[in-house]
Assembly symmetry: C2
Homo-oligomer: 360 residues x 2
């Protein structure tokens, strides 16, 4: 049997833990894996592009556990009442090849994306940063606010979206969340939201080279958390922001970011160098160097983030009562007798297979 | 909700249909897709190799449906009571990116591998071929016998395995299957099993360059169905068999077979050319040319086979009562309100999402 965390189980896990603690523990797990960056197999994701979107497979392994995520990106989906991004993932045992856990990752991707954004901001935003402009108030927005409130100390958010309905939804949800000391402000434009903010987060969904942020909006000392540009032809920042002499750009995995991130607009040869998040988190490279630097986290999502998230889920699932399992893999008395397994009236008592021992 | 076919549901589907009809319908579905070969996105599978085995992701798409399979290969697993190969797959809607079906594919891979072997043999074995040597009597063996009995007309099988227990298991299962007119013979060696056989099928599991078949065993007119050599460093045939002047080698997808198949032992430049199965099935290339040709089907398994199998399962699942579904994807009233979905006490009535309309 394979452990199973569907959307209902995930809701129960988050409710039991509380969203802020869930987010913080997840961020810790991700940071710990980035600190052993060299242990991971790194390949660009496998992407299947079509007219309306993309379906991707994101695998990685540390030689002990293997994980992959299936994720799509279809910006037109919302018009038909569907999600832009859906995802699920599998954690497997490298020694036997057996899948251990199948988990929903639509919610989990939103958590882990926000957790990684906050981890980067802890090293890149000005110490004492308290205000954040949040451009794009869709599916990812609440998660970003929870992460920056819990992990960075943000206490003021200024919201803007071209769809006022999205902003109203976000305000409503934030009111219910009632995060300690958080002031929520609705802005009339991106420029208004950004003006004077310590941190600017962009999480828009259009699949095109958009200009959500333009050079005149950027003030010295700002940290830009650019989340929505994450596939070829889908960016959010004007290229001149990336080319600022005082800009410090950080990515998760450079070869992938060059294809999918904001820096697809740059050329590796002539434009400024970028740092990788692992170097920051393991203190091999400095984060922010002065209060006037412009820092940019160009996030596209990397397989490692999902690996950490799946391992965290596996551990949490084991800690909290009533885990579920599905019969995705045959349970055979004799492994050479696959046919016998198929025609037996009933499967024998489920084998638990390789027991997942989660590292501390 | 995503449709779910676990091992118990798969057993019910096979039992309702009967194994021979299940195999034949599956083979038809696969052949139909090979005839529209150019419609498919073809990339080599993504393989993560470790000391003891490999975990692979095999994606493909025809622009309308997308499918991928997760499959491992761990030869040492059987010693610990585990399967060498386990697999599962997902069928998704290209237009929305939503997964439609999650299915077990350990059993299904065994079916589709045998179905493809039989499809190739119908074009490559001598007309009237009735006897088959079956070297390797493990998990795949029964499926090969069912396929060659139903689709090629084989009425005599000669069995050999280095593990006599595996052969006894196969004999027992074949007795229970009681396939019409089938004579089952146990051989003392590979050479004895092969001598005089019309067809030679090799399905061994060792991860090395093995010499299951050597040149002196091969007789004019034989068809060799080489199934077990399917990853780098894992082959079954002596290279001189592949280099015979009268040999006609057929593969599923040449770029992948050059890496993973028997023909990894050849060089594309100096050695004889190979044909692709799609060319045979669409009559663009001849199968066997004379009664004395040696034909070789060098099968490694291709994503298209799994695509066809998943679509067949989806259709069958819809036809037979009591299909199952799992909550792998959130069902949201407002797709921009992902957070709202997470904290609502209960999900609303499940959306069926994109309805899978299976082409005739």
């Amino acid at each position: 049997m394979v452990s199973y965390i569907g959307t209902e189980r995930l809701k129960a896990l988050v409710a039991t833990r509380g969203p802020a603690r869930f987010m913080s523990e997840l961020a810790q797990e991700i940071a710990a894996d980035y600190r052993r960056w060299d242990a991971f197999e790194k390949t660009p994701r496998h992407a299947s592009h079509s007219t309306d979107g993309v379906i991707e497979l994101m695998p990685t392994s540390d030689g002990r556990l293997y994980a992959f995520k299936y994720v799509n990106g279809h910006p037109k989906n919302t018009a038909a009442g569907r999600l832009t991004v859906t995802a699920f993932g599998v954690l497997a045992d490298v020694a036997t090849g057996y899948p251990l856990l199948l988990a929903e990752m639509t919610y989990v991707t939103a958590f882990r994306t926000a957790a990684v954004s906050a981890l980067a901001a802890r090293h890149l935003a000005r110490p004492g940063a308290r205000s954040m402009a949040l451009i794009g108030n869709g599916a990812q927005a609440e998660f970003q606010v929870i992460a920056f409130h819990a992990l960075v100390g943000v206490r003021e958010v200024r919201l803007f979206d071209t769809d006022p309905e999205a902003t109203r939804k976000l305000v409503r949800n934030l009111e219910r969340l009632d995060l300690e000391g958080l002031r929520v402000q609705v802005s009339a434009s991106t420029a208004q939201a950004v003006r004077g903010a310590d941190i600017v987060t962009t999480v828009t969904a259009d699949k095109r080279n958009a200009l959500i942020l333009t050079p005149e909006m950027i003030e010295p000392g700002m940290h830009v958390n650019a989340v929505g540009g994450d596939c070829p032809g889908k960016t959010e920042l004007h290229v001149d922001i990336l080319r600022r002499a005082d800009a410090h750009i950080v990515v998760e995995f450079e070869p992938q970011a060059r294809i999918e991130g904001e820096i697809q607009q740059l050329t590796a040869e002539t434009d400024p160098a970028v740092s990788e998040l692992a170097q920051l988190l393991s203190a091999q490279r400095p984060g922010r160097r002065s209060d006037r630097d412009v820092t940019i986290f160009d996030s596209v999502g990397f397989a490692l983030n999902d690996f950490s998230a799946l391992r965290y889920l596996a551990r949490l699932d084991g800690e909290i009562a009533s885990p579920q399992a599905i019969d995705l893999i045959p349970a055979l008395a004799d492994p050479k007798d696959l046919w016998g397994g198929l025609v037996r009236a009933r499967a024998p008592a489920p084998r638990t297979g390789a027991r997942l021992e989660v590292p501390a």
